[in-house]
């Protein structure tokens, strides 16, 4: 596609750029296929501001007779303003931004054009494969096997080509189970607890429907999971009522009569539109500086964002408790098994497994539990909190995960190998990125679009020595123990670093973090 068709005015002189923390700046604005480029030459020194068009969530234009103002609200929650001389130019630029910031075709997106000198497309894409993951976990290999039943993505389009299932369950059975689960997402292993051999499984809902259909193979598979330990838990991320209602549309839940060794627990986690609206309300509240303390607190409450954080952590805590304290295996699912399910299972792994708390381990967890497990990033992150577009499939599930991880890291400042800047970076990259990592909705789609051959991998980049330093936690001190978060509301806080990112408030806190980092490095360097 030719981007130039959509760029009527490519250059405007004497534009004024206003953005947080900087005085207004006058210079030249330039529109390219993927960026807004603003440059200002002041004597010998020139400054360049580069904004990825994909990052723009909403654009508001106020043209007047001889000039116009464009307000750009970005997905990283930054708000910029451009004063453009000439109404015609202003409207042209606004139109270009509107079109180019919401490209639909994956291969038109910037990661396919990003070619920095220091990276090569020959570098390994991704951190690990299901095969490598399986090979590393020797202790589970006598009871669990790696199945390639999905090698051409035909059994479950949103799963990776290889998954871990009980040894006694053959591929034929898996195919039948997949037909009984929404989207073919049959129960697979996502975590093996070394201490007691218990596991966390995840799947989508069973398609029992109104007539309480059964599937012998599905029951067999779950029986094989708890073989020997007698009892398992199913954490359903919907309320009991929601699960009942799902039967009307062909979904359902594991009934006591068919799955007698499994005990169901219902914990309602919000998803989809409710979650997206919660984010919108929260960002709106954070952006309004005029109101009183009462109004702020009531808006904060009304957004329900912190309630979602609370529920997610509480459910993850429950899951971890079942595994570590009660010694039972757990199956997690909601309806599709691609959102709340992944949120709960990955948080529980952070609580239980020290290996996921290192920088490498955490990125590995995201790769396994979000990218390979088929979280539909492209759908969920098409728009952020400012967009006026009609909501379709957007939902900030991944941002909610990052917020929960931040709460964990705040409560256990020594336990995580990665730092807040990493979480902030991921929160930005997931919406607009130079890298291909968060493109598409599943591994299958990424392969089809050639993402792995034609874009660079964000995770690989973040682990380069130059970046690693910045994203490591200077206070990190590994612990083998589980980290049980306090889920009292008094213990949870608004993530100021993200939601108040563009206020002076966040700058002071950032400086303090820098001071802390310097002190620790100084102390360490001296010893």
């Amino acid at each position: 596609m030719e981007f130039s068709e959509h760029i009527k005015t490519a250059n405007v002189e004497d534009v004024v750029l206003r953005r947080p923390f900087h005085p207004p700046m006058q210079g030249t604005l330039c529109v390219t296929g993927h960026h807004l480029l603003f440059s200002n030459r002041d004597g010998d020194s020139s400054r360049l501001v580069l904004l990825l068009l994909r990052n723009i969530d909403a654009i508001e234009k106020r043209p007047s007779v001889s000039s116009g103002t464009i307000t750009l609200k970005c997905k990283d929650l930054c708000v910029l303003q451009l004063d453009i001389p000439g109404m015609e130019e202003c409207l042209n630029i606004a139109r270009s931004i509107e079109y180019l910031s919401s490209l639909d075709i994956v291969s038109d997106m910037y990661p396919f054009f990003y070619r920095p000198l220091k990276l090569s497309l020959q570098d390994q894409w991704g951190l690990s494969s299901p095969e490598q993951n399986y090979a590393q976990m020797e202790e589970l290999q006598d009871r669990w096997r790696l199945s390639h039943v999905n090698k051409d993505y035909s059994v479950c389009p949103s799963y990776p080509p290889a998954v871990i299932v009980p040894h006694s369950i053959d591929d034929e059975t898996l195919v039948k189970v997949a037909k009984f689960r929404q989207g073919g997402r049959f129960p697979v292993l996502c975590y093996y607890h070394r201490k007691n051999g218990m596991v966390i499984m995840r799947s989508s809902q069973p398609l029992t429907g109104a007539n309480r259909k059964r599937c012998r193979e599905d029951e067999l598979l779950l029986q094989a999971v708890i073989d020997g330990s007698g009892l398992g838990y199913i954490i359903d991320t919907r309320s009991n009522q929601q699960a009942q209602q799902a039967r009307m549309t062909g979904g359902g839940f594991e009934s006591k009569s068919s799955y007698s060794c499994w005990k169901r627990l219902h914990r309602q986690l919000e998803r989809g539109k409710v979650l997206q609206e919660s984010l919108i309300k929260l960002v709106e509240a954070c952006g309004d500086h005029s109101h009183s303390v009462d109004r702020w607190l009531s808006k904060l409450e009304n957004s329900k964002w912190l309630s979602h954080v609370h529920t997610a952590l509480a459910t993850a805590g429950l899951l971890a408790e079942c595994v570590e304290r009660d010694g039972h295996s757990v199956l997690v699912h909601g309806s599709e098994g691609t959102d709340a399910t992944l949120l709960v299972s990955s948080l529980a792994q952070l609580i239980l497994d020290p290996n996921t708390r290192t920088l490498d381990g955490f990125l590995g967890l995201l790769e396994r539990e979000w990218l390979l497990a088929g979280h539909p990033f492209q759908h969920r992150c098409a728009h952020s909190a400012y967009s006026h577009a009609r909501l379709r499939l957007e939902a900030p599930v991944f941002v909610l995960l990052l917020d929960c991880v931040w709460q964990l890291a705040r409560q256990f400042p020594l336990a995580m190998g990665f730092s807040e800047p990493l979480l902030l970076r991921l929160a930005r990259e997931v919406y607009a990125s130079d890298y291909g990592t968060f493109l598409c909705n599943s591994d299958q789609e990424r392969c089809a679009a050639g993402v792995k051959e034609r874009t660079h991998c964000l995770f690989q980049f973040l682990l380069k020595p130059s970046e690693r330093e910045h994203y490591s936690n200077p206070l990190y001190e590994p612990t083998e123990l589980a980290i049980w978060p306090s889920i009292q509301p008094q213990s949870l806080q608004l993530w100021r670093g993200l939601f108040l990112r563009w206020t002076q408030h966040a700058v002071h806190l950032e400086k303090a973090q820098e001071e802390l980092r310097n002190l620790v490095i100084e102390c360490r360097g001296a010893s």
Binding site: S298, L481, K511, L516
Partner: protein
């Protein structure tokens, strides 16, 4: 009822009611002490009687009678006593012991002060208010010390030494003070000054020439400015209502060159109720996020904290940015005025963000200027309507600021919590009574010890490791953001971590620990070198130790700290 002993008492952990400790309860003259029976641990829990706010006895259960003790610093101790009779006795004794009727019953006055006379005398000379005025540069050619109040005749709730504009003659001072219960005087000086007073007795039309001259004199003492701000820290409606009682606020027509500004800090009764509500929020057992935020909102507490901070910000801006002097008052001039002036001082002057500076500020703006400590903090059985968390709010403002500027304060949260505790505890004589005159009449300096040197001695545990005198946040005036989202519930005050929950370490605590350890190791190293064969220590080493003061950050780089983490398993408990 002294030395009462009850056996087989259970101390209940409120977060895990099944994990109770069994032990013996002792009531001494000053403390309630619980000692665990378990011979291995024998953990002790001490509660100072003067810290007890209330003792409730819920209906008796088959296993015994519960006693719920709330302390004045928002901690809760829950006991289960097997015999109802014993529980009633303990409750009655505690009620009596926690509400003394005479000063002489208080802890600080019940110990023999002459035991270490020298130490006592020294403790009172630890802070020097005069030196602080000199540090600010007063007296000078514009501001002088007036002897008018040396015998507390002009105003018995003011200190004996006051600074006033040089051009204000004694008749003007006395005249002004008659028109107000507390005449204007100056606690903070740069070029522009902050002065404080009570409301004028203006009613609807009364005026006082001397008072008008006094404010004029204050303006003239700030060469170059042609007006002053008069900050009335009350909501305008309250100030207007006061006029009907012959009091009120300055009529801008009568006073040349003043600009009147209302701030809107609510009165002591509103604050007392609000604090009760926020402490209830802190005690909620398993609230939902909605319950918690709703409780926080309906307590109104953070709104009041913001009002106090806003008052300080207004004054600080006027003085530092506009160079205009400010006269601050509320009704009596000892509650809201003290809050506003001291918050402004913290914002304006880096010195007041150090440990010693904050002590001095409290000594000056609160203790010497007649904040009614004994009434406000319920030291003696008295009128419950006089009680109000005025200084609590000041300390919380400082805490909120320290959350916003983590590198700007020399002290940590623990220091503020400790100050708060001692305002209520009466273990030291500093905060007894309601004015300097009362304290002098009671002879407190002869009969009690001062808190300040004690805090100073323990300063290592109150230090903020992120503080550096040369950090940008430390320098000059603080410009806090007072947007509502900047205010948080003070968890360390209203929701302290209880015993069974994991002790969560903060990164700054960790750094403090590291630094202390480094310091110890280094001292050992030096001692070692000093006794090393050859007899002489290397001169450089010795110097290195001497410069290891918190206020000499530039030398910090010359240190060779040895880094070692404290045992991490302490930080994260297994459950």
């Amino acid at each position: 009822f002294l030395n009462e002993t009850v056996e087989n008492v259970r101390l209940i952990d409120r977060t895990a009611p099944r994990k109770a400790m069994v032990g013996t309860l002792y009531l001494s003259a000053t403390h309630t002490i619980f000692v665990e029976n378990n011979p291995e641990t024998r953990r002790e829990t001490w509660v100072l009687h003067s810290m007890v706010a209330s003792v409730e006895r819920p209906p008796t259960t088959p296993s015994g009678s519960h006693l719920v003790v709330h302390t004045k610093n928002f901690q809760v101790v829950q006991l289960l006593i097997p015999q109802e009779r014993d529980a009633m006795d303990v409750q009655a004794s505690l009620a009596r012991l926690s509400r003394p009727e005479k000063y002489s019953e208080l802890y600080c006055l019940s110990i023999n002060p002459n035991a270490n006379k020298e130490e006592r005398e020294e403790s009172w000379s630890f802070l020097d208010l005069q030196a602080d005025y000199r540090r600010m540069g007063v007296p000078n050619n514009l501001w002088v010390s007036t002897p008018a109040n040396s015998e507390y005749r002009v105003c018995d709730t003011y200190p004996s030494e006051l600074f006033v504009p040089k051009s204000a003659t004694p008749p003007v001072i006395v005249g002004s003070s008659k028109f107000r219960s507390r005449g204007p005087s100056d606690p903070f000086f740069s070029q522009a000054a902050i002065c404080r007073c009570s409301q004028p007795l203006s009613g609807f039309s009364a005026r006082s020439q001397e008072d008008e001259q006094m404010l004029e004199a204050i303006m003239k003492s700030n060469p170059g400015s042609d007006y002053i701000y008069v900050v009335d820290t009350r909501p305008k409606l309250n100030a207007m209502a006061n006029r009907a009682a012959g009091k009120g606020y300055e009529n801008e027509d009568h006073y040349a060159n003043i600009k009147l500004q209302f701030i809107g800090i609510e009165n002591i009764h509103v604050m007392r109720n609000s604090q009760q509500k926020i402490s209830d929020v802190g005690e909620l057992k398993t609230p939902s996020m909605g319950d918690f935020l709703w409780g926080l909102e309906s307590s109104g507490w953070l709104k009041h904290i913001k009002a106090v901070l806003d008052a300080g910000v207004f004054i600080a801006k006027a003085v530092a940015e506009e160079g205009i002097s400010v006269v601050v008052h509320c009704s009596d001039g000892w509650d809201r005025t003290a809050q506003a002036c001291s918050v402004a001082s913290v914002l304006l002057e880096p010195y007041y963000r150090t440990m010693k500076g904050l002590m001095l500020l409290i000594e000056r703006d609160w203790v010497s200027f007649g904040h009614k400590f004994s009434h406000r903090y319920n030291h003696l059985e008295g009128d419950p309507k006089e009680v109000s968390p005025v200084i609590d709010q000041f300390l919380e403002c400082v805490w909120q600021l320290s959350e916003q500027f983590p590198c700007a304060f020399e002290f940590n949260e623990r220091f503020l919590v400790q100050l708060h505790r001692h305002v209520y505890s009466c273990q030291y004589g500093n905060f007894l009574g309601n004015s300097q005159k009362e304290r002098r009449d009671m002879g407190l300096r002869e009969r009690t010890h001062s808190l300040w040197p004690q805090l100073w001695k323990d300063r290592a545990q109150y230090a903020n490791p992120l503080y550096r005198a040369d950090h940008t946040q430390t320098q000059g005036i603080l410009r806090p953001n007072t947007t509502p989202y900047c205010f948080k519930m003070w968890k360390g005050m209203y929701n302290r971590v209880e015993k069974s929950s994991p002790p969560r370490q903060t990164p700054t605590d960790l750094l403090t620990a590291v630094r202390e350890e480094t310091q110890q190791l280094e001292e050992e190293l030096t001692n070692h070198q000093e006794v090393a064969p050859g007899g002489t220590a290397q001169p450089g080493t010795k110097q290195g130790i001497q410069t290891r003061s918190r206020n000499a950050p530039n030398e910090r780089c010359s240190l060779r700290p040895i880094y070692k983490f404290i045992n991490v398993s302490l930080l994260i408990t297994i459950n």
